[in-house]
Amino acid sequence: MSYLYFPGCSLKSSGRAYEESMLSVFSTLGLKINEIEDWNCCGATAYMSISELKAFALSARIFALAERQMQASDRADIVVPCAACYLGLNKTRHYLAEHPKLRRKIYKALNAANLKYTGRMQVRHPLDVLNNDVGIEKISSLLVNPLEGVQIACYYGCQLLRPYSDFDDQHEPSTMDRLLKALGAEIVDWPLKSRCCGGSLTGTVQDVGLRLSYILLKEAKKRGCDVIATACPLCQFNLECYQSRMNRYYKDKINVPVAYFTQLMGIAFGLSPQQLGIQRLFIPLKSGAGHVCL
């Protein structure tokens, strides 16, 4: 199986560990992956506040580049790890399919750059690919280093599931739970799996953003979790990098590591911390049950 890969801006900077660990895990599983050449910003969130139309055009250019990169007859899905990009691209795909008027405008704009969009590409999240294309069976067959005794709270965040994705249940997501469970971890049942972390606000209305993240951390800790697993660079950043500030603000002593689910998978596959960008974490991974690697 081979895929095209859209990293998005975050995976090249604050979320570098996500990219490193994902690529390592994918190659361990024998998945081929090609980065889309000369990709641009997907036009999500903040950009959309200025121009929705242009945001659609930005995403459409990515699709067009992807289609050009593949042979005319080939088809490959685009893997998008960042939840915000995943939503942005998926949204564009849906809107272009359902709104011919919009489609015509975008076609015309792409035309100015000699680009074409035919809608052949699907937008896929790594969780989707790992669960549905690779399968739990194959993944557990590569298990070297079981995550035994580690209590993991899977945190899906908001934009990964809502409103366009269809690979998991919007209300009770389970794809990440199943993956990590298969690798030996114990999954913490908590009701805030897909509650917003306030990510987009931490930079601007910081008190509100911190509060939202703090609610998540507090509840996860209360339910006895050792590590929070995330699937979005912004979630990871908020929950981890601001922890010390939250503790200061709310006079608390939360110290929960927040890792990408791909990092945890990589550990279970026995990959080296370097391959997984473990050294980039602020809060070191440590085990509740004295796990070897953690």
Binding site: D169, H171, E172, W190, P191, L192, I215, E219
Partner: protein, 667 residues
Amino acid sequence: MSTVGTGSNDKCKIGVYVCHCGINISSKVDVSKTVRFAAKLPHVTVSREYKFMCADPGQDLIQQDIRDGRINRAVVASCSPLMHEPTFRNTMAEAGGNPFLFQMANIREHVSWVTLDNTAATEKAMSLISAAVERVVFHQPLMPNRVPVHPDVLVVGGGIAGIHAALTLADAGQKVYLVEREPSIGGHMAKFDKTFPTLDCSACILTPKMSAVRAHSNITLWSYSEVIGVDGFVGNFKVRVRRKPRYIIEERCVGCLDCIEACIYKSGKVPDEFNEGLVKRKPVYIPFPQATPLVAVIDAKTCIGIRTGKCKMTCIDACERDAIDLNQSEEINEIEVGAIILATGFKTFNAKRIYRYGYGKYSNIYTSLELERMVNAAGPTGGEITLKNGQKPKAVGIVHCVGSRDNKTNKYCSKVCCMYSLKLAHLIKERTGAEVYNFYIDMRTPGKGYEEFYDRLLEENVHFIRGRVAEITDWVMTPEEEGKLVIRAEDTLVGVVRRVPVDMVVLSVGLEPQPDAEDVGRLFNISCTREGWFLERHPKLAPVSTFTDGIFLAGACQGPKDIPDSVAQAGAAAAEALALIDRGYVVLEPNTAYVQDELCSGCKTCIDLCPYGAISFDDEKDTAKVNGALCKGCGTCVASCPSGSLQQYLFTDDQIFSEIKGVILYA
């Protein structure tokens, strides 16, 4: 036979009458223009317009024109022929014309109500009128067929609606078959504790009616039975009913419970359907103490005696009347009836479909129907409202509109939930003294004494929070929420979000069509709405009739209804059935197929096409022949006749060809 238009030498004189239908038509269609247009069409001698053609003065216009010899054929451009064709045919006949020298142009349902643009609507109306004019030229004078009506009636479904309809008909002297799928009649009403707004005991008012059904000499009650086949037509239905084996000989059983006592299972094994699965029952059981018929039933799926044969069969020994027969098999009964009343009821919404409400995930979340059983003195807790831990709840939240008014589940309002939620709120308050919070979107209490009941609840200090519940979780934020279920909703009247910790949640689930409503609809040849409710003939003027003559609807199978509405509709359905039987005959549309004898080559193409066996081969004449009494008028054989020798009254080739021409040629 009338004198109009019978002879071919009679000049064809057509009157065209365009209806305004108040402003229903005239607001879109330029009526005067269509009238002027129609006046110029061939053979049209009179062209008029009127505000309401179906009203007496409108009909008088036609009759006067016939009597004065101005016209001998008529075209009325108004609503759908499914609505008023019979009306205008009568008009024709009363004035001495032949009712079938008439054609309708549907310029309301097919034009004014569906077209945005006035010019386009007017053009479309004109083309439909010209088609009708072209067609009516080819109409022949016909006589309607009369067929006698069988006096018996079938009622399907033994809930309150079915019971009431059956009793009404039986009291009027009609023989009634009441078929119920479950082992006992009673339906949902038998499960309720009290009824709103009067707080009558549900069982107290229902049980006498159930006994009356059992005792009535005119009623044949077949419980644990299903209709599996329906043939025929209004006045003459042939119905097949499957009587499922209950493994108890009904005539012998007296409902003594000895077999149940004797069952080798010492306690219940299977979720008790009547108690909404709150407790368990044995494989041999009587659904509830007032069950009618009061006869035990053995559930073949769970009885080991039936399943494996390896059982001591202590029940058989225990029965002194030898009523148990584990080898019983199903029976198929065939009956003939003149009319059918469908009262197949509803089911409640499956609350698990709304994941955010935690039903099935957290304990102490109940559906309203489960709570009905819990509140009932004869229910599993003896009427005690308790939590799983045995304690009384201190705070209870009642969540309205669960599975109603939601595009993702059901768009419609289930109509009864507000009132039953108020009733439950009252009962909870009365029995436990708990704080009761009602979360509602809109409080809908239109009904006699309903608003007063709402007032009473307001005075009882029940909390009302106007807001649809967003989520119910065990995620707590404050110490007082600890160990409770937290209901989160916006209090929209205040404009703040509230988190209300409660011990128990009641989900006021909406009403849905029976899961097999589509199949039942197909069986009886009636339609369902998009949601799956049975479709009535007209939402206002024919609310219990269906598009299949002789089949009537009663109760919640047609849409959500409370008890008084169901009973009223059941009465109406019974009255419609009685009117049909009392008349003694039905008039059939004379749209049967006929063979132009001397022209048939006897090629037999049509012979086996007729599902009703109305066509046979006449060995003497070597031609096909149609039995008009059996023909239902579909015209399939007519279209198949290779030499055009079969024709259909009211739908001859000439009539349709001219309609095609008319619809395209003009306007």
